[in-house]
Symmetry: C2
């Protein structure tokens, strides 16, 4: 066990129809006007947006609507949101959607109280304050509903970068599994891949000897697999959606890495380049990167890869575990090679150069220089 701090002040309200409480939640916190942020038409079609507007109105909470957040949220739209939040003098952000909407909401919350461009915070400026953020989650995957992370893509520079700050933990997040029942099969799959990626990056890259955290990670991975297997067959299965939703939240809310010491997120790093350049879904990119990275890395921590194989899939040997994971990814409809996502192998150097920039920013460029990243990507061909 290594020294750590754990502080996660987000309040979770979990269950059927709980979005109806958001008006009272905001009123209770004396919020009188929010930026109501959302993404595509789906929250309109499903009636969710109308329901939320209705509960806000009934609670006497004013709102200004701002839709159009895209998957892999972009800086230009975030900047528009910041301008709107400032000009409308909103007191909080209410993000209704999946991880992309929540992430952009956090960025807007930071930008709204800053006198510099919001992108500055993604390239190193420290966040010292932010508007309070409230969320209603419609897609389980990123755990943005219960952490201090925000990932936004700068379309001009093709940089998919992040803010990590205690100031952007949502104050209250409402998780109603019913809202995720309409998530299409491919995005459900990408969510499952994403959650597994969140927990296994530290599991494999930390130092050995933290049994509790190993077991927590294994509990999460096994439950992702079990619940997603049901969701594939029965998209409307409330229990499976609920189980997956809470598992996803615990996958990146600070629990599993607490006490494990230094670890790194190389799969996310490389994936950020894939989706920055090709705009593929984050989970799709991860399904391509992970088996390749695992094969490249497993000799550095063989005991843990053997443990993973045994505990998760009941098979012996690191490679058998990687094959089992990769096979499961394929079975649930995720791409597992670059060509599955129509990414040309000829682009590997460009991707690696892009990822190497982020490796430098994250301070892991000693192991992950451009050549090493290219080597990993070659294993995804």
């Amino acid at each position: 066990m290594y020294d750590f701090e754990f502080h996660n002040p987000t309040k979770i309200i979990f269950g059927r129809d709980k979005e109806l409480l958001m008006g009272d939640v905001l009123k209770g916190d004396a919020i009188t006007k929010v930026l109501l942020l959302y993404g595509s038409q789906s929250v309109k079609r499903s009636g969710l947006l109308d329901r939320v507007k209705d509960v806000l109105s009934r609670a006497g909470v004013g709102f200004i609507e701002f839709g159009g957040v895209v998957s892999n949220p972009v800086l230009s739209h975030t900047r528009q949101g910041v301008a709107l939040a400032k000009s409308e003098a909103v007191e909080a952000i209410l993000a209704v959607g999946g991880g992309s909407v929540l992430d952009e909401g956090k960025a807007i919350a930071v930008g709204a109280l800053a006198d510099v461009d919001v992108w500055d915070f993604f390239v190193g400026k420290e966040v010292s304050r932010a508007l309070p953020v409230y969320t209603i989650l419609t897609l389980a995957a990123t755990a943005s509903e219960m952490n201090g992370n925000s990932v936004v893509t700068n379309e001009e520079t093709k940089q998919k970068y992040n803010i990590t700050s205690p100031h952007v933990y949502p104050r209250v997040s409402i998780l109603n599994p019913q809202l995720t029942c309409s998530v299409p099969a491919d995005y459900s799959t990408y969510g499952a891949v994403d959650v597994i990626a969140h927990v296994i990056e530290a599991y494999f890259t930390k130092k050995p000897g933290t049994r509790l955290q190993d077991r927590l990670v294994e509990a999460i991975v096994k439950t992702v697999i079990d619940s997603h297997n049901i969701i594939r067959q029965e998209p409307d299965n409330y229990q499976a959606r609920a189980e997956f939703m809470w598992t996803a939240t615990l996958g990146l809310n600070g629990l599993t890495p607490s006490g494990v010491g230094q670890s790194s997120f190389p799969n996310h790093m490389i994936e950020h380049s894939l989706s920055a350049i090709y705009n593929i879904a984050h989970g799709a990119g991860l399904a391509i990167v992970m088996p390749a990275w695992m094969r490249w890395y497993s000799d550095r921590n063989p005991a843990q890869f053997e443990r993973f194989a045994r505990k998760i899939f009941g098979v012996e040997g690191a490679e058998a575990g990687i094959v089992a994971l990769e096979t499961w990814f394929r079975d649930i409809g995720a791409p597992i090679r670059l060509q599955d996502a129509e990414i040309p192998a000829a682009d590997i150097d460009e991707i690696a150069a892009n990822a190497a920039q982020l490796a430098k920013l994250w301070g892991i460029d000693d192991l992950y220089d451009q050549a090493a990243i290219a080597e990993i990507l070659q294993l995804a061909v």
Copy 2:
């Protein structure tokens, strides 16, 4: 999965020498005077109390000392603390010790802002506010460092009752595993028993079908066993003490019961009567009650008892799992029968009558009337 709310705002600072940060923590929160609460002489002998007073002085935080908290903290001493906190107009409670000190600290925090007797809150009055509580933990077991519970015994009425309120979550808890290295073998054992009790009460009494939470509980139980087995051999083993300490915190910080729906704490209920009447250590009482209760209850949820046997001890059948747990309790030096703690079987009706009062207060008297509790206790003879 059932509807739930999760909100645990306590900040944990974990690691070697971290108690030295407490002065800055309080100063950062603009606290200028605390009630410095502790128990026995051991925090004086170990030098911890002097270290804490020194960091408070250097940070310019005033304090009034109040020692003498006993294991199973008592109402009379709590009332003295409330009076002192009021007369000295302290702004916060700083509890330095184990679960007993923390629990009494929380009760004083409630009483200090109330115009009624503090016991009123233990028999049903709702807590609406409390002084902020800060803690430096010296004994891992109760998770009081990261939850909203406080248990105090009314010596006159022999009632060991509790407050549960969001207002008494510690604001910051410092967990330095080094401070637990001097915990004697018997109290280390009682701590291990207590943590297992915390997680298995809901595990066995909830409805089936919440796999994630089952796995989290199993991760905790297995890690308690693994780490305590090392602590028994090597009391100074920092890694084992650290692993046990964080496991104990996760054992009762709201994580494992979230989403499992209704569950109950019959073992704690019956044990509260044992320690209220005989003043035995909480963990010792639990080690006596648990195997008896498990045998009494297992037919009501056989699949879960079989699962427990298989997952924790690798044995088949409910009874084999109970025997394995009981054997481990005995091996680590815990009493497992009433007579091991010199409690006469002739007292069973008196104990059962006492526990039946609490069953009523907790609303579980439909299953746990006096006769049922006596039946359970007969299995501990």
